[in-house]
Every structure is written in structure tokens, then in C-alpha cells.
């Protein structure tokens, strides 16, 4: 089958569905007296209708924490300390827990990483999807049996086939389990889907199948998708806009073409150099020395300063502000200030 997805242009005219403003998240330490670790620091982004946003970063950059805050699913030690998360004009942080649980799944749903563990091994896939439908009042009579038709439709939609609803997760291959997870996330017709590393640990061919499915569903259902990933190639293939995070802060935020062809933040530039590009094989990849910072031991100035090739004095003492380079292109680096 030949295909070419993501030949769409960013839907910049579409209305904004979800707007995250200045969100910071802290984790309280169990040890007394230890300062709270700030996992996410004043991050903002907007998600338009039908748009796919790529959230890119390395381990510990706060991307998972940011997505969990969006769903208000932070672990007990985590607190959203600043900012707002507006979904269709409503600040999600103002909702009560029961209102929020209505929003989850019906408006914003999440595809978890590791489909292998996320499905209950002793119950059929169809049963698990039906349960989600019943739980959120999507079954006509409130009984699982009445949801069978919808379960079948959902499975067909993700390319599994309604006849496999009665099978158990272990009878599915890795790719099919991930498809089942997508079906589950789509059960209640959400407007926004957060996909947390949906293709990590899958083979490239299966990854391509899943990405194509996501892209197809997005166009068919008008979904907005946030794709959390560390794989720049995947982002380039399917996303419209990209938020690059480093050490809990926004490094750069722009549309996909700008990020890949006119990156301004040294981290984005280095990350692109470090990423192997099949179309331009060279003998050596450019590596970024050092390791990402730990949340409990952040550098005082710019968080990327210890690894930055263009570092200068000011970087070590003063954290850079988020500068606006042009409409829809933000970067937090002292170097872009003058531009």
C-alpha cells in the first residue's frame, strides 16, 4: 500500500481548542526541608482544532509531567503551581474533580505508552472498551451488551476488525494492542487526544502503520492530537507544530517547518544534528556532550548552558526569557534576544 501522510498545511486559521498558559508543576520532596522540584516551568502552548502538536524532549524534560497536568492526573506529590489550562474557554484547573472526570475521556483522552501493560490481560479487548463506554454514559442502556455495536465500530475504525472483540490482549500483536488503545481513547469521541510515546518500542513498520492510522483518524474525525515523543523523525512526518522542551522549560516553539529548517535555539539545532538522517548519511553524528539536567539539581542560569556549544557568561547566571522571533516562533535563548 502506498501512502503519503501529513501533506496538510498547519491549520493556522482554525480556532484554538486548548490553550496552556504559563503552567508550572512542582513535586514536593518526601524529605523534609528539601525544596520542591520544578518539573515544568512556565510552559505555554496552544492547540488548534484538527492540529497535531509534537511535544519533543529527552528523558526528564517534563513532557510527560506536562501532559499529566493537562489531564490533571499528576501523582500525589505533584502540584500545578502557576498558570491556566483553558479548554474551549473553560479553565480546567477551576473544575471540581467530578467535573474534570467528565472532561477526561469525553473531551480529552490519552493513549498511554506501553500498550502491553495498559490492557488487562484477563479480560477481552472488547469488554474493556465496552466498560469505558458504559462508564462515560456512551452505552444506550447503560449495559455493556448495548455497547457491542459501538465497540465493533471502534475496532473497525482502528483497523482491527469487529470480529476480534472477543479476543484477549495476548492474542493481539504489539501493533494491534496499540490500535486497541487508540480505539479505547476514541471511545467517547474526544476532541483532543494525547498520545504519549505511542510508537516507542514498536518496530518501524508497525510505527508507520500506527502513525498513518493516527493521521487518518485525525482528518476523518477532526481530532486535535498532542504527540509526545523523543523521535524527531516522527514529528517531522506528522506534526503541524512543535514544542521542544528541555529541563522543564520551553526551548523552542514553532511550526514544524521552522523547527526543522530554521531552528534558533542551540538545543534544537544540536538535537537535529544528533538525529541520524537516512537521506544524509555522514560518517559522524554531532553529539551533545553531557546529560540532561536533573530536576533536583538545575543549573542557575539557562538550563542548557552546561551542554551548549555557544554558551557565554550571561548564560550561566541568568535564565533566558522566552523571546518572540516572529508570529508563532518562540525560543528561550539569550542569543536570539537581539534578533
Amino acid at each position: 500500500m502506498l501512502s503519503s501522510y501529513a501533506d496538510t498545511i498547519p491549520l493556522t486559521e482554525a480556532p484554538i481548542l486548548l490553550e496552556v498558559r504559563d503552567v508550572s508543576v512542582e513535586f514536593v520532596s518526601k524529605q523534609k526541608g528539601a525544596p520542591a522540584a520544578r518539573a515544568v516551568d512556565h510552559v505555554s502552548f496552544a492547540l488548534r482544532e484538527g492540529e497535531m502538536l509534537g511535544l519533543v524532549g529527552e528523558s526528564g524534560c517534563g513532557k510527560t509531567t506536562l501532559m499529566l497536568s493537562l489531564m490533571r492526573l499528576l501523582p500525589a506529590a505533584g502540584r500545578i503551581v502557576t498558570g491556566s489550562i483553558e479548554f474551549m474557554g473553560q479553565d480546567l484547573l477551576d473544575l471540581t474533580e467530578s467535573e474534570m472526570s467528565e472532561v477526561r475521556w469525553r473531551n480529552i483522552s490519552i493513549i498511554f505508552q506501553g500498550a502491553m501493560n495498559a490492557l488487562n490481560p484477563v479480560r477481552t479487548v472488547g469488554d474493556q472498551i465496552a466498560e469505558a463506554l458504559v462508564r462515560h454514559g456512551m452505552a444506550p442502556t447503560g449495559k455493556k451488551s448495548s455497547a457491542a455495536g459501538r465497540v465493533g465500530d471502534l475496532l473497525e475504525m482502528v483497523g482491527i476488525g469487529a470480529n476480534r472483540a472477543n479476543q484477549y490482549p495476548h492474542q493481539y500483536s504489539g501493533g494491534m494492542r496499540q490500535r486497541a488503545m487508540i480505539a479505547m481513547a476514541l471511545a467517547c469521541n474526544p476532541q483532543v487526544v494525547v498520545a504519549d510515546e505511542p510508537t516507542t518500542a514498536l518496530d518501524v513498520m508497525i510505527q508507520a502503520q500506527i502513525l498513518e492510522l493516527l493521521d487518518e483518524l485525525r482528518h476523518k474525525l477532526g481530532l486535535s492530537v498532542i504527540l509526545v515523543t523523543h523521535d524527531l523523525g516522527v514529528v517531522a512526518e506528522v506534526c503541524d507544530t512543535v514544542l521542544v522542551m528541555y529541563g522543564g522549560v520551553t526551548a523552542e516553539y514553532a511550526d514544524v517547518d521552522t523547527i526543522f529548517n530554521d531552528p534558533q535555539h542551540p538545543y534544537t539545532q544540536q538535537l537535529l544534528n544528533a538525529f541520524p538522517d537516512l537521506t544524509r548519511p555522514t560518517a559522524r553524528l554531532i553529539s551533545i556532550p553531557g546529560a540532561p539536567p536533573r530536576l533536583d539539581n538545575l543549573p542557575p542560569g539557562c538550563r542548557f548552558a552546561p551542554r551548549c556549544p555557544q554558551v557565554f557568561d550571561r548564560c550561566h547566571s541568568e535564565p533566558p526569557a522566552l523571546h518572540r522571533l516572529s508570529d508563532g516562533h518562540l525560543a528561550s535563548c539569550h542569543l536570539v534576544e537581539s534578533r
Partner: protein, 326 residues
């Protein structure tokens, strides 16, 4: 290549019983993990073995290392048949062939400090019994792997190091024996992108400085593209295409290689390619399809593909493919 190859693999086969053998019955069905694989590896050469999970690439590595006994075929290392050596010879062989594992979080014993971990191979082989000499070799291996100064690392536990540093420790543990052949099983797939490049460059340096031959096992053709000389693409236990890396990437001939290449994400949104997405999953390696094992998923399969099992044959200078239509 005038020199004799360091490693020759001839018709190597590794089958696993598909069900547990009972007391009174022996298994009748087998998983064909590695099925008739042959290749040569030159001195100082880096060969990439690429394929999806379950294609047999990891089993191939374990068989080359001697941790799995081959069911058939020959492994010739430095001109000697080492296919089924055991005991002392096997142990001696380990000094020359070393392996780097995928998961740097799992492949280090959490209860041992880095110094002990690196010294372990020396201890096992009773090399450098002198304490000072052993410490010197440990230090050299650490520094050669980019962990400088070595003193800062010898007394630390694995959990105190970052992922990239741990993978360097794993590499140092392999280097300390000064092997001539290194098997690297997905050495970077668990690491962050910014750290991957460092490890790949380290491996490239080892080849350049020490002339170590490397078999680089990966699922990622893009990573393989960067420093390997040749690439072997595996599908269901068999090599379907083998040739110079640049040449294969520029001019893939096997439809599986073509598909694999087309779906690898390219970090450039302006570059749009036709993607060949194969449907479904690879069939299980127990009941292999008749004829060409790729034909059920092959976009260009024809009738003859169902009847005849193609062998590797030359399709271009220094490029072989196992396809009847190539």
C-alpha cells in the same frame, strides 16, 4: 579484501522447539529463529544487521557469541571452526569476541561498583593477576570509553550514572579484554537521542583506532547508515539483502528493504516520500510461508514467489538480494 575475513558464517541455522518437550515426546514444530544465514566479516569492518523484532538478529548475535548452540552450519573465527567448541576453548574464544547489550540499565549488576564490573572479565580469565596492573587496565578501558577521569567512576554504583555513562561502562567492560570482534546488540536504542550520537561515535572511534570488527545489530536503518560499511537486512530468520551500506540505502533491490527504507522517519518536513507501508505483522517464524517467505506481505509478489524460495544472489557489484524479481 586481500586479508582473510575475521569471521565467516556459513549456512548458520538456529531452531528453537515451539513447544516444551515432554518426557515422552520430542517437539515437532520449531521456531526458525536463524535460518540459513551466511556472511563474511572483514577485519576492521562494521556490518549492520537490520530487521524488525523477531527477525532473528539477536539470536544470531547470541549464536555467534556461543551462548546459543547452532542447530546447523558453521562459524569460522580467525580461520578456526568454532561452531561447537566448549569448555576451555569456548572460554578462550570469549576473550576475542565480546558483546554489548541493548539495555544499559539491566546489563550492569546493581550491587557491584563500576571498577568491579570492569575488572570482572579480567578476573574470570585470570588476566592481570597483579592488582596494580589490573587497576591500570580498568582505568585504560574506562578512559578509552570516554569516562574520564576514571578515578571518578571506579567506586560508583551503576545507579549513580546516567544512561549514556552506563552504556560506556558496558563498552569498557567489553574492551578490557581487548577483543577483536565486538557484537553490539541495539547499543543505543534505549538512550536519548542526544546521547546516542556519542555512543555511535565512540564505536566508530574504536574501529578506527583499534581496528575492532563490529557486528552492529539494530532495528533502525538510519542509525546503521552512519558508520557501518555493509548492511545485512534480515526478515524471518534470513538475510534478504546484503551489500555496501551506502549502496543498499541508495539502491535497495529487495522489496522488503525498499519498504523498510521508505517508512523510516526523516527529520525534514519538506522531504515527502512515497511510503510503502506493509500491512499486518511479520508471520510467526514457526509456520513459514511456502516459497519466498516475504511473499504474503510483498507488494510486488507474483505467482512464482509462492513456489520458489529465493537464495541470495548478486544483483549488483557487491550487493546481494534474495528476491526472484530483483
Amino acid at each position: 579484501m586481500t586479508e582473510s575475513p575475521i569471521l565467516q558464517v556459513q549456512n548458520l541455522r538456529k531452531l528453537f522447539p515451539a513447544q516444551r518437550s515432554g518426557l515422552f515426546r520430542s517437539p515437532e514444530r520449531f521456531v526458525h529463529a536463524v535460518d540459513d544465514v551466511s556472511f563474511d566479516l572483514g577485519r576492521g569492518e562494521v556490518l549492520a544487521v537490520v530487521g524488525e523484532s523477531g527477525c532473528g538478529k539477536s539470536t544470531l548475535a547470541l549464536t555467534l557469541l556461543g551462548l546459543e548452540t547452532p542447530s546447523a552450519g558453521k562459524i569460522i573465527f580467525e580461520g578456526n571452526d568454532v561452531t561447537s567448541v566448549s569448555g576451555k576453548e569456548q572460554k578462550a574464544l570469549r576473550r576475542h569476541i565480546q558483546m554489548i547489550f541493548q539495555d544499559p540499565y539491566e546489563s550492569l549488576n546493581p550491587l557491584m561498583v563500576i571498577g568491579e564490573i570492569i575488572a570482572e572479565p579480567l578476573k574470570v580469565h585470570n588476566l592481570a593477576p597483579d592488582k596494580a596492573e589490573r587497576a591500570a587496565r580498568v582505568r585504560r578501558a574506562l578512559e578509552d570509553s570516554g569516562l574520564r577521569p576514571a578515578e571518578n567512576f571506579v567506586n560508583r554504583y551503576p545507579h549513580e550514572l546516567s544512561g549514556g555513562q552506563r552504556q560506556r561502562v558496558v563498552i569498557a567492560g567489553a574492551l578490557v579484554l581487548e577483543p577483536t570482534l565486538l557484537l553490539a546488540d541495539e547499543p543505543v536504542s534505549m538512550l536519548d537521542v542526544s546521547i546516542r550520537a556519542e555512543i555511535l561515535n565512540l564505536l566508530a572511534d574504536l574501529r578506527a583506532n583499534r581496528g575492532i570488527s563490529i557486528v552492529f545489530i539494530t532495528h533502525d536503518l538510519a542509525t546503521a547508515a552512519h558508520f557501518t560499511d555493509r548492511v545485512a537486512v534480515m526478515y524471518l530468520g534470513r538475510i534478504v539483502e546484503l551489500g555496501r551500506t551506502r549502496q543498499v540505502l541508495a539502491n535497495p533491490t529487495h522489496p522488503y528493504t525498499k519498504a523498510l527504507l521508505s517508512v523510516i522517519p526523516v527529520p525534514n518536513p519538506r522531504q515527502r516520500r512515497q511510503r510503502i507501508i506493509l500491512e499486518g505483522d511479520p508471520p510467526n517464524p514457526i509456520d513459514l510461508p511456502p516459497g519466498c517467505r516475504f511473499h504474503p506481505r510483498c507488494p510486488i509478489a507474483q505467482d512464482i514467489c509462492r513456489g520458489e524460495d529465493p537464495a541470495l544472489r548478486l544483483v549488483a557489484p557487491a550487493q546481494q538480494a534474495a528476491c526472484l524479481l530483483a
